[in-house]
């Protein structure tokens, strides 16, 4: 496109070819008004590995139950310990690397986790373009629709959806402004804000644009559980976003995902807590949003657009990082690897530590199931396992919050240690935890600069 086209492009970037309404679910229709965004959005079919992220295309023999001819690599093959780690739960059957948004719907429909147990319609909340599905099911009442679909069998709910997450799930069709369409996130944020003393928080009304550039991703990249018989999708944020607050919440409501097959412990499954982990990192503290790194600006012709090919930033270092960091691509990739190697080392130690405790409890139960120490040891396994799983499930391998990720794993190893000590009857002395010192009250000294001499004592 030459200069004239560039100049023209600049003035009214997008012609309105079609009328977009609150029921236009098909992204291809939106693509008529925003062809560049639609093309980029379609690229999420691409599968390329990075060191710890991305996804590898694994060819597969289509079967009657699962017609997919390409899938992402299995995490259970990559680390066989995970089968024992989740013994007795669906994740021990089939758990794969995540891949592009284009696959989210078919990957959920055909995962073996659908065969081992009857999943509820709730799963659809994060795996398809469900805004229109909920609105229709609730006759225009999003929350009522959400509640109705949750209670359905997954297969029935899935029949109502056609597309993976698409434009209408993040954008207001009239103004293209970002908006939250997921009830799970709306209610999760309301509970979180209430715990911070802000009542009646409405994310679509109260969030700033910078926050929205993170919140649209937080709709799905979060820890969750299904609450009560109505299988209501709930984000466990009522006490805060740290793993410690989430653990306290689960203990308070007495929730378990399953009873561990090896140890009988009341165990929790953590799932992709990117939003929670990211919130503890230096980037979040500096106001950097998910979209800054995962949907950075891309120059196309005379315009800058947000790159809707959502993928690992390590496949897009130039645009994702180098606007803010002047180091070379190799150096930035080395920094990410450095952080991830440390997390990976501690993640492996924490899984070993938790499995050692799990096996020891199993042995103790077999030896004498009335042993009074078993109950306490199982509680330590519950904690060690959830803290370890919180980092294992998080998909940036520590990058989103490097020190926090390793602190969580250090605590997990300590819970495993205390569990073993309890099992062996070693007195676990409860020491009063040392309280951190008070904040620095002294205001820094005014510059002394030249002149202020002091005789040396």
């Amino acid at each position: 496109t030459n200069i004239f086209e560039r100049r023209a492009e600049a003035r009214n970037p997008f012609y309105r070819v079609v009328e977009l309404t609150d029921t236009t679910v098909d992204p291809a229709v939106w693509g008529k008004n925003f062809p560049i965004h639609y093309d980029l959005y379609n690229n999420t079919v691409d599968m390329t590995r990075t060191r710890y992220g991305g996804s590898e295309a694994i060819p597969r023999q289509p079967t009657e139950l699962d017609p997919r001819d390409v899938v992402a690599a299995s995490r259970l093959v990559e680390d066989p310990r995970l089968r024992e780690f989740w013994a007795g739960y669906a994740f021990a059957e089939d758990f794969r690397e995540e891949r592009g948004h284009a696959y989210m719907f078919i990957d959920q429909v055909f995962t073996e986790r659908q065969q081992v147990v009857q999943q509820p319609g709730t799963c659809l909340h994060c795996h398809a373009s469900v805004y229109t599905v909920y609105m229709k099911a609730g006759d225009g009442d999003l929350i009522a629709g959400f509640d109705r679909v949750n209670r359905m069998k997954y297969q029935d709910a899935a029949a109502l959806a056609q597309h993976p997450v698409s434009c209408i799930d993040c954008h207001n069709p009239a103004t293209m402004e970002l908006r939250i369409t997921r009830p799970g996130f709306m209610e999760g944020m309301r509970a979180l804000k209430a715990s911070q003393g802000v009542d009646g928080y409405d994310v679509n009304r109260d969030a700033t644009r910078a926050e929205m550039r993170t919140y649209v991703c937080g709709q799905c990249h979060v820890e969750y559980y299904f609450k009560g018989p109505e299988k209501r999708l709930t984000y466990p944020w009522a006490k805060g976003l740290t793993v410690d607050s989430i653990m306290a919440y689960y203990d308070e409501v007495g929730f378990r995902d399953w009873t561990h097959a090896v140890s009988g412990a009341p165990t929790l499954k953590a799932q992709h807590p990117e939003f929670e982990m990211f919130s503890q990192g230096i980037h979040a503290r500096s106001g950097v949003a998910c979209a800054d790194c995962h949907m950075p600006y891309l120059r196309v012709g005379a315009m800058k657009v947000s790159d809707h090919w959502v993928r690992s930033p390590m496949l897009n270092v130039n645009n994702a990082c180098q606007t803010c960091h002047k180091q070379s691509e190799d150096e930035l990739q080395a920094r990410v690897s450095n952080i991830q190697d440390r997390t990976y080392e501690m993640r492996n130690i924490a899984i070993d530590a938790t499995l050692d405790l799990t096996r020891a409890i199993g042995a103790a139960v077999r030896a004498d199931s009335t042993n009074p120490r078993i109950a306490a040891a199982r509680q330590y396994q519950r904690k060690a396992q959830f803290y370890t799983d919180f980092v294992e499930a998080e998909n940036s391998m520590g990058f989103h919050a490097d020190q926090e990720s390793v602190r969580i794993l250090g605590n997990a190893v300590n819970f495993a240690r205390l569990g073993m000590a309890t099992l062996y009857g070693a007195r676990v002395p409860d020491r009063p935890a040392l309280v951190p010192p008070p904040p620095q009250t002294v205001t820094p000294h005014p510059e002394r600069g030249g002149g202020a001499t002091r005789e040396r004592r």
Partner: protein, 161 residues
């Protein structure tokens, strides 16, 4: 002299010395150059050396001088800002008590953000919700706050580190 005359005389002396002193500082600190748009004018003060040398190596050296970013592009706004900053600059310069390293403050930051948008109106036109003009009858919510250019392009003017 009557009381009134005495006050007037005192006032005249005061204003005279202030003007004289101001003029002297103006000349000595090459204040007159301050009114020009030549970036070297800012570098008269050593406190601006680092910004000047960093600017010389920046992507805007041939396209934008200090005042292209640090004063509004409309004529009135430009000289009003020059006057305001001119006063505060000389005030702080002589008194010398300001936090170093320098931090741009409120009003001046908005001026810079405005400058980016005026030169880069084209390339950033899609950034605010795709530059969508709502169909008639549909009230467009204000685009919430603009996303700040300096959120990502903080060092585009001068990478002083």
């Amino acid at each position: 002299m009557t009381k009134g005359q005495r006050i007037a005389a005192a006032a005249a002396v005061l204003i005279g010395t202030a003007a004289g002193l101001g003029a002297f500082t103006f000349v000595y600190a090459k204040g007159y150059s301050y009114l020009t748009t030549d970036p070297a004018a800012c570098a008269n003060c050593h406190i601006m050396d680092e910004h000047y040398s960093a600017w010389l190596k920046s992507s805007h050296r041939n396209v934008a001088g200090c005042n292209d970013c640090h004063t509004p592009h409309d004529l009135v706004g430009k000289y009003a800002t020059k006057a305001k900053n001119g006063f505060w600059h000389s005030f702080y310069f002589t008194t010398g008590n300001f936090p170093y390293p320098l931090r741009i403050t409120g009003g001046n930051k908005e001026i810079v953000e405005g400058a980016c948008r005026s030169c880069h109106e084209g390339i950033t036109s899609a950034m605010n919700h795709g530059g969508v003009i709502a169909p008639p009858g549909m009230e467009v919510q204000p685009a919430r706050e603009e996303i700040a250019c300096t959120h990502c392009h903080e060092y585009v003017g001068h990478w002083v580190r």
